[in-house]
């Protein structure tokens, strides 16, 4: 039983990473109806930037804040420079562009930082005091950080006029433009926020899975699964989905099929959700008028 609870708790911890990545995907999906395949690599690259900053002697939290800021600016820049000119291109061209970004980030990271696996520091103490060994301090901290990020995002979208404008631009671009919202810039901001959330996810997961250019491919897949499970147009759903996927992955991996086929869980989950309930747990059903 102890093992069971251990698995559940560490599942919640990894789940928080899936949740934030899923959230980043959902944010871009809501605004543009595109799924950003490069999201994981963008997060990986931001984590490398954080690593470089820490190596340069910055204290952890300063590097953390700076990395989030850099990721935000980078996300906005990518939208402006790469995605914007292809606004009216077909969906496949955009998929190819995302793939192009994915390999560019992956390759440049390997080129600058080499492919050797690096350790990444954790800001939390090594010894956990109140958890009786069920969960490490880093995992606790990770869940806390993700929950704080979620609360901030929620507050931003719910209580600020910029957040409202962004939601409006995502929901109905034409009317938003008519009331004077600069829809293009709202999309760019959405990209920036998604990149920033991804950077947080990367920095939180790196102490566990270590830093290397391919660290995010598995995580991204679980992020997809989480986003779909929760409903790809629902941010709350994405978070709930993330935690569910994390716990499920750990339990199934530990008790049912062993670690070899863990990724296949994500495949089965993705296909299962899409077939049984394509809108996800909390998603809105889309009814199309023809």
């Amino acid at each position: 039983m102890e093992l069971f609870w251990q698995q559940v708790l560490s599942g919640l911890a990894t789940g928080s990473i899936y949740a934030s990545l899923a959230l980043a995907l959902v944010m871009i999906y809501q605004a543009t109806h595109l799924v950003n395949f490069a999201q994981g690599e963008m997060a990986m690259f931001s984590t490398y930037i954080a690593w470089a900053l820490i190596q340069a002697g910055l204290p952890y939290w300063a590097a953390f804040v700076l990395t989030v800021a850099i990721a935000f600016v980078g996300g906005v820049a990518i939208e402006r420079i790469v995605i914007r000119p292809l606004e009216s291109a077909n969906v496949l061209s955009l998929v190819i562009v995302f793939i192009g970004l994915l390999v560019i980030f992956n390759s440049v990271a390997g080129w600058i930082f080499t492919y050797t696996i690096k350790t990444f520091p954790s800001p939390f103490p090594a010894e956990a005091r109140f958890t009786h060994g069920y969960i490490s301090a880093h995992e606790m901290g990770m869940i806390a950080v993700v929950l704080v990020v979620l609360a901030l995002l929620f507050a931003f979208f719910r209580f600020t006029s910029l957040g409202l404008a962004m939601r409006a631009a995502a929901q109905n671009p034409i009317s938003s433009r008519l009331v004077g919202i600069r829809v293009g810039w709202m999309l760019a901001l959405g990209w920036g926020l998604a990149a920033a959330v991804g950077a947080v996810a990367g920095m939180m997961v790196a102490p566990i899975i270590f830093l290397d250019p391919n660290m995010m491919s598995g995580v991204l897949l679980y992020g997809f699964a989480a986003a779909l499970l929760g409903g790809i147009d629902n941010p709350v759903g994405a978070v709930v989905g993330g935690f569910i996927v994390g716990v499920m992955e750990n339990l199934v991996g530990a008790f049912v099929i062993g670690p070899d086929l863990k990724l296949t869980v994500a495949l089965v989950l993705i296909i299962g959700v899409l077939v049984v309930r394509p809108a996800g747990l909390l998603g809105r059903r889309v009814v199309t008028r023809v």
Partner: protein, 343 residues
């Protein structure tokens, strides 16, 4: 220019291409011939993917899985059952036809990017599944299966690489003829109709579910045949050769080559085989970054692929008569998008 002469032109171009393809190995080295063989093999796989994505509008990022199934089918048949290499092509195609049809059934519920995601998951899982312990007896686990290079028959005085090239070329020509025949008739029109307007297609009496799963099956069959050829030519299959990147480069090949275009598959095959080499020769340090930049460049400069760009060039040259005659336009952005409420 009349449509008839346009038609004759196409046959002329195709015949010239085949003659050229036959002559090329005479001037190339064995290694270059081998590379060209791989490009042909990719062209077959891309033809299959183009059938699904270009003509039928279903995006797949998981065709590497079918390529792997085809390759493993061929390898297991040769390794465990001592079948000659040429006899493994058809079984590999049949197995993949079945696998693709079965995967196509749940895929019926999915559209656009959702399908891309589901198939991407398939691509990511493929190496893990191939390493799975219970089937290790057949697949050879992580080590994979090593095959022998087949000798040319009848003591022909050519090298094994050249023989495999001609063998592959023959199958490519057959596969393309079959596919062209399939696409120019009722089936092809049905596939395009489903892509362009599913509801209108159904009211015309097209069984969309059947055609869509069949498209998936036939598409997987092509890719599986390519996989079997790939296993024979490379003489080796192992789980890590079928990484998600293989599937991704298939989709890249289809889009860069040209969607919904038969010649696009050939251009795409050349792109898949040679662009990584070109990128590698430009920068040893970060070849994939160069590859990515190529992709972005292609999408900016030739959004409808090489075949599309050539078509535009040809159209500018000829009179307006031929405009739109044999053109199946590429997908629009609206595919797979959730429609916005319009005012």
């Amino acid at each position: 220019m009349t449509p008839g002469s346009d038609h004759r032109n196409r046959w002329g171009v195709a015949a010239t291409a085949v003659v050229l393809a036959c002559a090329l190995p005479l001037v190339l080295s064995n290694y270059q011939t081998f590379q060209l063989t791989l490009a042909l093999i990719y062209a077959i796989a891309l033809f299959g993917l183009n059938l699904l994505t270009g003509y039928n509008g279903q995006i797949s990022l998981g065709h590497g899985a079918f390529y792997a199934i085809g390759a493993y089918t061929a390898a297991i048949l040769m390794d465990h059952y001592d079948l000659p290499y040429w006899a493994t092509i058809v079984p590999a195609g049949v197995v993949c036809l079945g696998a693709g049809f079965l995967f196509g059934l749940p895929a019926l519920r999915l559209e656009g990017l959702y399908l891309a995601l589901a198939t991407f998951a398939l691509a990511v899982c493929t190496p893990q599944l191939l390493k799975y312990k219970l089937i290790e007896k057949w697949t050879g686990g992580v080590q994979g299966i090593v095959l022998l290079k087949p000798d040319p028959p009848l003591d022909l005085p050519i090298s094994a690489d050249r023989w495999l090239y001609y063998f592959t070329l023959a199958i490519t020509v057959l596969a393309f003829l079959f596919g062209w025949n399939l696409l120019r008739g009722r089936t092809g029109r049905a596939l395009v109709a489903i892509r362009d307007h599913p509801i209108a297609a159904e009211t015309m009496g097209i069984n969309a579910a059947l055609y869509k799963s069949l498209a998936f099956g036939v598409s997987a069959m092509y890719t599986g045949i390519a996989g079997a050829l790939g296993a024979i030519v490379v003489q080796f299959v192992a789980p890590d050769s079928f990484s998600p990147f293989l599937s991704i480069s298939f989709l890249v090949g289809v889009v860069v080559g040209g969607l919904a275009s038969i010649s696009g598959a050939i251009f795409g095959g050349l792109v898949v085989e040679f662009i990584p080499n070109v990128a590698d020769s430009i920068s040893k340090a970060a070849p994939w970054a160069i590859y990515g930049i190529f992709l972005l460049g292609f999408m900016y400069l030739m959004p409808s692929g090489v075949a599309g760009a050539l078509r535009v060039l040809a159209m500018r040259k000829t009179t307006r008569q031929t405009q739109g005659a044999h053109v199946a336009p590429p997908l629009t952005r609206s595919t797979g998008e959730v429609p916005q409420k319009s005012q």
